[in-house]
């Protein structure tokens, strides 16, 4: 297991290197420069500023410089956000994004599992139809539409939650709900399909024939086996929650990194784009690593490291 994780961490660095390189060159292909809207600067001033940031060098030299900096943990300084180092910029903005992202993932996955399980156990009843209806809504309504709807009804009309504010837990509920809809719908659909399958399998019949109550058959045997494929989609779901949060943060004026990411791209803020891309990639790779470890914990057939057999 330890060997496996070390191996995965080694691959993580290789992946990050490739992503960083690709992003660097793609970014340089974007039209415009970070200073293209600074009309008041004379060509000489512009030259000085460019030299200060190393932008007068060839792309190759800039690339090598950046990568060397990256190795030392230096992500550079932002051109736009008060000349702050990118690392501290991410640090300040990280907490709100992580909070609503994690809350949305947890709420969505847990409720999705429950909803899917109820639908499967009460197959072809009104409970199943209702659960399917809810999960299809979650899947098909984009998070920004849901965000605006929640804002309009729960915040503006009924005044239960703040419209767009970021201070306490209460203010995080609406963005969390808006973001949780997609994982909830996805997980519920997966869970229902899988659990219907599991419930009709031979080992469930055997579990019942041992004298287990229906409740115990579900909790001790059916649930765990149904979770295996659900774990697979946690990775891709994390991606959609992250991208969804960029828009939702904007709607609820949350000072998160999503909002900053969008702004940095529109203003050609090279170091910030690079820093955030690398950070997001790192996060995703870690999520996928956790998913793979979870797999082994849930399904003994995929125990890592020893190929399953002793």
């Amino acid at each position: 297991m330890t060997k496996y994780i070390l191996k995965r961490i080694f691959y993580l660095f290789i992946t990050l290197f490739i992503i960083a390189s690709l992003t660097f060159f793609l970014m340089k292909m974007l039209p415009g420069t970070p200073f293209s809207n600074q009309n008041r600067m004379s060509p000489d001033q512009l030259k000085i500023v460019k030299a200060q940031y190393g932008l007068d060098q060839s792309v190759g030299v800039q690339y090598v410089r950046y990568m060397v900096g990256l190795l030392h943990g230096n992500l550079g300084t932002s051109f736009q956000f008060n000349n702050e180092p990118v690392t501290s910029l991410i640090g300040q903005r990280l907490a709100p994004s992580m909070q609503i992202g994690a809350q949305a993932m947890i709420v969505g996955t847990v409720l999705g599992i429950l909803l899917g399980a109820v639908a499967a156990i009460r197959k072809n009843t009104w409970a199943d139809t209702l659960a399917t209806f809810v999960s299809i809504l979650g899947l098909s309504i984009p998070s920004f539409v849901l965000a605006v709807l929640l804002q309009f009804y729960l915040a503006y009309k009924w005044r239960i939650f703040p419209v767009a504010l970021w201070d306490n837990f209460q203010s995080s509920i609406l963005p969390t709900l808006a973001l949780a809809a997609l994982p909830l719908g996805t997980v519920a659909r997966f869970m229902r399909t899988e659990m219907v399958d599991v419930m009709s399998s031979d080992y469930i019949e055997l579990a019942k024939s041992k004298g287990n109550s229906n409740w115990k058959v579900v909790t001790k045997h059916a649930l765990r086996n149904s979770l295996i494929p659900v774990v697979t989609i946690i990775g891709p779901m994390a991606v959609s929650v992250m991208t969804g949060s960029m828009v939702v943060e904007n709607i609820f004026s949350i000072p998160g990194i999503g909002e900053q990411f969008v702004k940095s791209i529109t203003t050609n803020d090279y170091p910030t784009i690079m820093g955030l891309t690398i950070f997001y990639s790192f996060l995703l790779i870690i999520v996928y690593l956790i998913v793979d470890i979870l797999y082994g914990l849930i399904d003994p057939r995929i125990r890592l490291g020893n190929g399953g057999k002793e």
Binding site: D202, Y203, A207, S209, G211, N212
Partner: protein, 348 residues
């Protein structure tokens, strides 16, 4: 002998998209303490449904529309699911057909075998695991103490069936229902499993209902045999009665299609022509009549009752009616009658 289980006039219907299928149409049988009763019949004849009705482990679209299942005189069909949970795996347990899919892939086999003990007895986990180890040794799993912590995929098919058997016997049930326990296994392993069941029956004194479509297996394990066709029993009696003095043309057909040591290598095996009836609309008369070379007019019109052949041997065919014309069974069956006489019975 004590009748520990008696099934009376059992009817089971399945609600399907095409209509109601009358899968079981009046089955009667009993099980004596300590004996092995084999139920034979072709696929779809209703063997599994009959025994699953005993434990009420039927699909959700099935209903037991009529009948009684008396366990020590107590009708199990009147019990709630909760009351049945106390009987399942404790008094009556079941061995399933396919060992590759019958075990929970995400639970260690030790826990799976110990489960019935922990459900039905007030024992500590430690004691349950100790007992589990003994039972695993009893069914022939080598090094059980260590292997208890392994998962099903780490065992071969034959070993998995031994584990399934261990689950069924761990709480020393009075009745063991074995639903085609050897069908999914290869022939050498089949023989080992049959031997194991016989040995276990002696050690723990359980009664067995054994379901199979393999007559060869029946001869090896059963005391009594019931032959099933299209949701009804057609003939039942002792192993010798069924093998050497069969009376129902369907039993003749089954025995005739089984290769024996005398079977000529060049010859083709016999088969019963036709297919079983559609139980969406069960026939008015004898369900086997359309495939029966010996069928008479009355077979089309009225279902034959059971006629007594000897003390424990009954067959539902009009051929046994006193007014029926005498027919000559196939040559292979006549040979069996000769053997029956040598065994000391009175063949017809």
């Amino acid at each position: 002998m004590d009748k520990i289980l008696e099934v009376k006039d059992l009817h089971v219907d399945f609600d399907t998209y095409n209509g109601v299928v009358h899968a079981i149409r009046g089955v009667n049988f009993h099980l004596n303490a300590g004996e092995t009763l084999a139920i034979v019949g072709e696929s779809g004849s209703g063997k599994s449904i009959t025994v699953r009705s005993v434990l009420q482990l039927l699909a959700s679209n099935a209903t037991i529309s009529k009948g009684e299942v008396l366990y020590h005189g107590d009708d199990l069909l009147q019990k709630s699911d909760k009351e049945m949970d106390k009987i399942r795996g404790n008094k009556i347990s079941m061995i399933f057909q396919d060992p590759m899919t019958s075990l929970d892939p995400t639970m260690t086999i030790g826990k799976q075998v110990a489960e019935p003990l922990l459900i039905h007895n007030n024992v500590s986990k430690k004691d349950a695991l100790k007992r589990t180890e003994e039972v695993l040794r009893l069914v022939g799993i080598p090094n059980p103490a260590a292997r208890m912590n392994d998962y099903p995929h780490q065992f071969s098919g034959g070993q998995r069936q031994r584990i399934v058997i261990a689950i069924a016997i761990v709480d020393y049930p009075e009745i063991l229902i074995a639903d085609e326990p050897t069908t999914a296994l290869d022939v050498t392993v089949q023989a080992q499993i049959i031997d194991l069941l016989k040995e276990l029956q002696q050690k723990i004194g359980t009664s067995i209902i054994f379901i199979t479509h393999d007559l060869g297996v029946v001869a090896g394990i059963a005391d009594r045999v019931a032959v099933m066709y299209a949701g009804r029993f057609v003939e039942y009696g002792s192993v010798d009665d069924i093998f050497y003095n069969p009376q129902h043309p369907y039993t003749w057909g089954l025995l005739d299609s089984m290769p024996t040591l005398d079977t000529n290598e060049e010859a083709r095996l016999n088969s019963i022509p036709g297919t079983p009836p559609n139980l969406l609309n069960p026939p008015k008369g004898d369900a086997f009549a359309p495939r029966n070379a010996y069928a008479m007019q009355i077979d089309e019109e009225e279902q034959p009752p059971f006629f007594k052949v000897s003390k424990n041997h009954f067959a539902a065919t009009w051929l046994l009616h006193p007014d029926a014309p005498k027919v000559t069974p196939p040559a292979a069956i006549l040979k069996r009658y000769e053997k029956f006489q040598k065994l000391g019975g009175n063949a017809k």
